[in-house]
Each structure stands twice: as C-alpha cells, then as structure tokens.
C-alpha cells in the first residue's frame, strides 16, 4: 500500500500532566473510513482534534511524539496550522450554525480562506450541498436563517460547509449522536460516498455503526489504541469487552500497548 496519509508515532497526549493517551502508533491510509471507538472519556475526541491541532489553544495540553499528515510533521515548528486545518476538516458532534443565512454559513470559511474562488462561490455551494444531499431541501431558501433547519439538516450543512473548502481528510466527532435514526442512516451512507474522494476518521461509541461503515476500526481504551482491519473481525462486542477486562487487570503491571496493523 502507498504511504499512509496519517501516521502517529509514539504519541503521548496529556492535559495538565495527566496522561490521556500513551505512546500511540497508528497509520491510516488514503480514502479509507476509520472509526475511533471507545467508551466515554477514553480520549477519542482528544485524538481526533490533535489531527488538526484544535487542542492547541487549550491550557495544559501537551503532545509528545510525532503526528504526520501527508508525510509532514504537523507539530513541527513552522507548520502553517491554518493551512493544515483547511486540508483536515473537523465536524463537531453538535452542528454549530451561525445566526445567519444558509448561504452565509456555507461560505463562512472559504470567503476568507479562498477569496480567489469568489466568482465560483454559488456553484461550489450548490455542489457541496448536493454532495450531502441537502440541495433539494434548501435550494429555494438559501437566504433563510440556518438555525431554522432541523438537526439532521444542520449536521449535513456543517459537513457541506467543511467540504466546500476541499479538505483531504474529514474528521467527524460523533456526528450522528444528536440525530434521529433516519438522518443517522443517511449520514452513514453519505460517509461511504464521501470516502471516495477523501479520507474519513469518524468517532463513535456505537459499535454496530463502526462496523457498518468503516474499513477499519480503532479501539481506544485506557489511553491505548487497539487497531485492526474490519475484515478480521465478525463478532465485535465481546471482543471489545474482553480487551477492556484484560486491560483492567494488566494495566497495573504493564503499560505496553497491543500494536495492530
């Protein structure tokens, strides 16, 4: 396989000296869907945000080791973190809509980051909204307040707003947790479509969902990652319980992680 698009080498992450993730090694390949699976508080969001340096502004955050994206160490000095965030998009758990029109929300980022596209904005808005299957629902109301959309529509709008900047990697932090089953399903199939053009990292604690959509599932438990290809696993829930139990017993004696892939 070609060079990994995301590669973590010996990454340790701590908040105020309290270690959240320990010596993580992980490589993710282009145009795959990877899900990060783990219980609440295990550090899924932390890991995800460290891929676009969204933790930087948090007091007490520290990261050791190297995170390479597109073969570049993103924590090295001199990295343009704004350019990084343009190619590594992040979608939050709860869609954040600004109290402005749908159109304004769509171009919020690119208006500043890609001013050279100005003449193509309306085409690109249309294209991105079509990609998330929202265009037909909003094409006649682009000037309406985005906060009036339903949760599911808002989440798709949030994804479209990120996609319009043409990121190569799309990070999603529990994007379906505030959605009804139907929107959830729609978003899952959308993810599979999107993976044709960009690499997806999807955080969830829904085991079933992880196995429905992903090429690869990465478990995060007690600060370690357990990383396998989807194909090698059929029964998942017992597996994760086992690891969890095992870690609980062993962690006192050994802090060695199990390395996958």
């Amino acid at each position: 396989m070609n060079a990994p698009i995301i590669e973590l080498k010996g990454v340790c992450i701590a908040y105020n000296q309290r270690t959240v993730l320990e010596r993580i090694n992980l490589s993710l390949h282009s145009k795959e869907i990877t899900t990060l699976l783990g219980p609440s508080g295990s550090g899924k969001s932390t890991l995800l945000k460290s891929l676009c340096r969204m933790n930087d502004h948090i007091k007490g955050f520290s990261l050791e080791g190297t995170v390479e994206i597109l073969e570049e160490d993103i924590y090295a000095s001199g990295v343009d973190v704004y350019e990084l965030r343009r190619s590594v998009g992040l979608v939050f758990q709860k869609p954040v809509m600004f109290p402005r029109s749908i159109y304004e929300n769509m171009v919020l980022g690119v208006k500043r980051t890609r001013p050279e596209w100005r003449s193509q904005f309306s085409d690109r808005v249309e294209q991105s909204l079509k990609e998330v299957h929202l265009w037909d629902e909003v094409k006649d109301r682009l000037q309406e307040h985005a906060t009036r959309l339903s949760q599911g529509q808002q989440q798709r709008l949030a994804i479209a707003r990120t996609l319009i900047g043409e990121p190569q990697i799309l990070l999603m932090d529990e994007p379906t947790s505030s959605l009804d089953p139907k929107s959830k399903e729609a978003l899952e199939s959308l993810a599979i479509e999107l993976a044709k053009k960009c690499t997806l990292v999807w955080v969830t604690h829904d085991v079933e969902q992880a196995h429905r959509i992903s090429d690869r599932v990465v478990y995060i438990l007690e600060g370690k990652v357990f990383d396998r290809e989807k194909a090698s696993h059929t029964t998942v829930s017992p597996d994760i319980q086992q690891i969890s139990k095992g870690r609980g017993k062993r962690s006192f004696f050994s802090r060695q992680g199990i390395e996958g892939s």
Partner: protein
Amino acid sequence: MSRSDKENLLLALLGLATIVACCFLVLILSGLIYRGWPALDWEFLTAPASDFGRQGGVFYQILGTLILMIGAGLISVPIALASVLFFTEFSPQKTGLETYRTLIFTLNGVPTILFGLVGYLFFSQFLGIGVSWLTGVLILSIMILPTIQVSILEAVSAMPLSYRETGMALGLTPEQLIRSVVLPQCGYGVLTGTLLGCARAGGETAAIMFTATAFSGVQLPESLHDPVTTLQTHILTLSQEAIDPQSVTTAWGSGLVLMAIVFTLIAASYLIRLRVANPDGGQA
C-alpha cells in the same frame, strides 16, 4: 424563621431598594423637566449664549459637549477594540487575560478628577497643548476606555466557544476569525460600549473643567489649542450664581438638554442589547 419567611423578607428588601432607586430617578427627572422646561425653546437650542450665559441659548455648549464626546469615542473605540482582541484572540492560551480584566475594572473605578489632573499635567503642560478641546478629548478618551473595554470584553467572553471552534476548524487565521466570527457575533458589545462610553464622556465635568473648557466668549475652536464651552461646565458655573433666577433657569434648561443627549445614548444601547437578546432569527 422559616425558609420561605427569609425568602420573603429578602424579596421585600430587594423590592424596597428597587423602589427607592426608581423614586430617585423619577424625582431627578421630574425636577429637571419641571424646572428646565420653561427655558426650552427653539431659540435656546440654536442661539449662542449672551450676557455671560444668563441670556440667549446654549448652541455652542451643545456643540462643545458633542465635540468632546464624539472625539473621545473616535479615539477610544479603536484602542479598546484592539486591546481586548489582542488578549482574547492573539495571546496564546489567553495568558494575561485575567490580569487585564482586573486592570480595566480597577481603571473604571478611578475618580475622574484624577484623570483630569494627570491629563492636565501630561497633555496640557508636558505636551504643551494647553487648555484646549484636544486635551479634553484625550483625557475623556482615556477615561471612557475601560467602560468600552468592559462592554466589548463581556460580549466576546459571552460568545459560545463552539462559534470560535467552528471558525478555527475551517482554517481561519485569528484576523479572519475576528472578521468572520468575533465581530459579527460581538458587534453589539462594541456598539453598546461606545454609546455608554460616550454617555459617560458627555456627563463628565470634573476632568474637563480646568483642562478643556472656558466659560464664556468661546464659540467653535479654530485650532488645536482652543478651549470649548460645554453644557456640563455651563450648568456648574451658572448654578453658582443661584440668586439670579434667569441664570438658574438657563442652568436647568442646559441640564435638561444634557440629560436628553445622555439618555438617548443609553436608551439606544439598551435597545441594541434587547435586540441581541431576541434576534428575529428564532434562535434559541
């Protein structure tokens, strides 16, 4: 005493305090209107003062107050905005923000006469501007700086973190974030702060008494070194001649005009806040 008795007592005390405060406001307003109204007419607003302020109108006094007020606002707003945004947007991990917050709250409580004194020594004497409208503008701009800063800082601090994070995740630089997210969401804070700051500058007397104003014989300043005459100093001087009924009436009339200017600014800032609290976007 039971719990609900205590609560009722507390409620009664709070109610009483509110009523007392309102009574004072009503008393001041009605007194001002009752005494000042007879002086008010078109001529009073548009004619220059004559006979050492006893006769004529307060046209140049109104202009003087407006010059000082607007001048102070024009200087103070950009400085306040830049300093707040520096601490909230550019300082890594918000270092120094708490110190800065304490500093501006403290500055807000400094007696205005001290601003006048220091401003007089520095601008008027040391820089040699003399007793002039410019000295007044500079002193007032420093004086109202914390008022505007507090208002902007509160607005920026009240902005949901998710807005900021969303903007950052889209790859906006701090400058772009300010233009696309912070200013659109917090513009009301800049506006209300400006209006309240200007209202404060408009009511200020002590700091400009001996640094920027002259009592009579002044119209519009023609150079940087000319003093102005203002409503607030006009009131002060006239009310010192309490035996002359004409002076007293003019003083009350000037007071009413000044009150109208200040109240307009405060009311406008209140309306803006109200509108921010209930935007028509139907947002929660």
